[in-house]
């Protein structure tokens, strides 16, 4: 129907037919504002059925209501309730002949209003929900979605002026970066700094100063998370400081504080400061639970379990099992899969190979459905380890190579270096020394460049010497692997 209407002939006939005429355009802005006030009045009364009645001026009234919500001062939770009521009503409303995604535009604007309201009210789980609905409705507006698909560096000033007139577009981009942080950290690392700058510049003027500080801080935290996955721990720490500088003056910054602190503790895990990280867990968990941040609490519990595992604590297995139960209830496939992989890893270390294989068989499809490559990297590496311990070297090498390839595709450089060391061990054991040497030659520069192993690690000097002779010293490889394990490079998340 749209293509029929948007043809040259129809447009031409419309222009000719309306020449010199004053075509009526529905209600005026003032009348729409009055209609919006009436609508709000109806919604406040007990007689409101929860559904809207379609009439030609309804879109104007709703757009006016969005403007009122945006412009009005903070009035307790009233604005939030109103935004939620309107959102629900519009979601149930059939929008007649909507070829310009007008309904999605209204729903995105209402989601943004509800996001702001819930954030200010400290209702963070609700805030997360409306972040998600905002991103969904923005993505359903074809033209905005096409714009957001462009790389941030290609966003010209006129494009920004055009699309960022709607604050929902900025929030949707922020949500997208958050979603991509585990899936495509290199993309986030490339885009988050530029996006953050735009949010704080003239381009982000549709946001209030509090909103822009919030979104900018979140971008900095996403950047830190992405850099961490890419193995750039030093820069990751710097970005956490940048985030803290922006959110330091927020009224309600609990979510950001928890997110930043979580990333900071995870960086301790990566750099081998397990005890230091473990000490920070109880306080962080308390903050997350006080703020009603259940999703964050799960991540913190997972970090704790990983720290216990790195410290070879007997409590680690119980923690992963508890977490597995919790994540199954929450229907979170990514964490269910990761818990299963870790239980498999610990079971295999304890000699329970059957349990390990069952867990891995269950984890595979779950992690695949979660679509987070980082999870698959860990899954394939643990399969490699279990098979190697069973003496199935050929199969183990294949599993390691799969894991390594996923890492290389996603530029997870520190993890890929660690996997090359694991792979070279199995290659040496299988008598394929030349391949092992090639893997080590590729791994060592990354290990040195990213300071994965501290200076003076004897294994590195020994290996370098051996590699000069095109030989791989198995003892030195094992020592290096153990060292990387101790420093946390072998960990995840």
């Amino acid at each position: 129907m749209a293509s029929q209407l948007l043809c040259r002939t129809t447009i031409e006939q419309w222009v000719r037919g309306t020449e010199g005429r004053d075509v009526t355009v529905g209600c005026s802005v003032d009348d729409a504002m009055k209609l919006a006030a009436e609508l709000v009045g109806q919604m406040s009364s007990d007689r409101f059925s929860g559904n809207l009645e379609w009439e030609p001026n309804l879109p104007d009234a709703l757009l006016a209501a969005c403007r009122t919500l945006r412009a009005s001062e903070w009035e307790g939770e009233r604005n939030l309730e109103l935004a939620m009521q309107l959102y629900g009503a519009v979601e149930r409303q059939v929008w007649h002949e909507d070829i310009f995604d007008e309904r999605e535009h209204v729903l995105a604007a209402l989601s943004f209003a509800a996001w702001t309201g819930s954030r200010k009210a400290g209702r963070f789980e609700l805030m997360r929900r409306f972040e998600g609905t905002c991103a969904k409705h923005v993505a359903r507006q074809e033209t905005v979605n096409d714009f957001l698909a462009l790389p941030v560096e290609d966003w010209s000033s006129p494009l920004c002026a055009r699309f960022f007139a709607e604050p929902s577009t900025l929030l949707a981009k922020s949500v997208k970066l958050g979603q991509l942080r585990n899936i495509s950290p290199q993309l986030v690392a490339r885009e988050a700094p530029g996006f953050r700058e735009l949010v704080l510049s003239e381009a982000g003027k549709s946001l209030s100063s509090e909103e822009s500080s919030w979104i900018a801080s979140q971008a900095a935290i996403f950047q830190a998370g992405a850099l961490r996955l890419l193995g750039n721990l030093h820069e990751a720490r710097r970005w956490l400081t940048v985030a803290a500088e922006t959110f330091g003056h927020q009224v309600s910054f609990q979510v950001l504080k928890v997110e930043a602190e979580y990333t900071s503790l995870a960086l301790f895990l990566d750099s081998g400061a397990f005890r230091l990280a473990l000490d920070g867990i109880p306080g962080l968990l308390r903050d997350a639970r006080e703020g009603g941040l259940e999703t964050e609490a799960v991540k913190i519990l997972f970090l704790e379990a990983n720290l216990l595992k790195a410290l070879e604590s007997p409590l680690a297995m119980d923690r992963f099992r508890e977490l597995l139960r919790l994540c199954k209830i929450r229907e979170d496939p990514f964490f269910v899969g990761l818990c299963l992989v870790n239980i498999a890893d610990l079971s295999a270390s304890d000699g329970h190979v059957g349990v390990a294989m069952n867990c891995l068989a269950e984890a595979g499809p779950i992690l695949e459905s979660a679509g987070v490559p980082w999870g698959m990297v860990h899954f394939q590496a643990v399969i490699g380890e279990v098979l190697r311990d069973q003496g199935h070297l050929g199969e183990a090498i294949k599993a390691y190579r799969l894991s390594l390839q996923t890492c290389l595709d996603r530029s997870f450089s520190s993890r890929s270096a660690y996997l090359r060391v694991l792979l070279s061990e199995s290659l040496i054991a299988a008598g394929r020394e030349e391949e092992a040497v090639a893997e080590l030659i590729a791994a060592l520069p990354v290990i040195e460049r990213e300071s994965l192993a501290r200076e003076g690690v004897a294994a590195i000097s020994l290996l370098k010497e051996a590699l000069n002779r095109r030989k791989a010293d198995p003892e030195a490889v094992r020592a290096l692997r153990n060292h990387l394990n101790r420093t946390g490079t072998g960990g995840e998340l």
Binding site: S3, T18, D22, V23, V25, L63, T143
Partner: protein, 121 residues
Amino acid sequence: MSSRPKLERLSGQQVATCRMPSSETDLDAFYRQVFLPLVRRATWKHHLSKDDARDIVQDAFVVAIPRIDLAANPRAWLIQVVDHLAMNHQRKAFRRAQLTERWNPRPDRSRTDFQIDKGED
């Protein structure tokens, strides 16, 4: 807002008297599904009056006649033209207001504002 008198909405009968060979239904649908939503977009997204928004959408249609590419995405293209025209309109209005303020300032405005603020006569 402009003070021009408004005509009634273009009815089927009016459409028929407008030298239009295409079906009345098509033009009525065009009014509801294309014209009005674009006017609302220009109004609410770009903070224009309804009358200014209507003129901008009409201008966009005039631009569209020779240039619209049906093989591409005419819907997105039309939205883009409306957005650009609306943004240009706003820019011009802002510049005009600045110039008016500069060359023809309201006499003794600051004093009046002060008096109002203080509740003085």
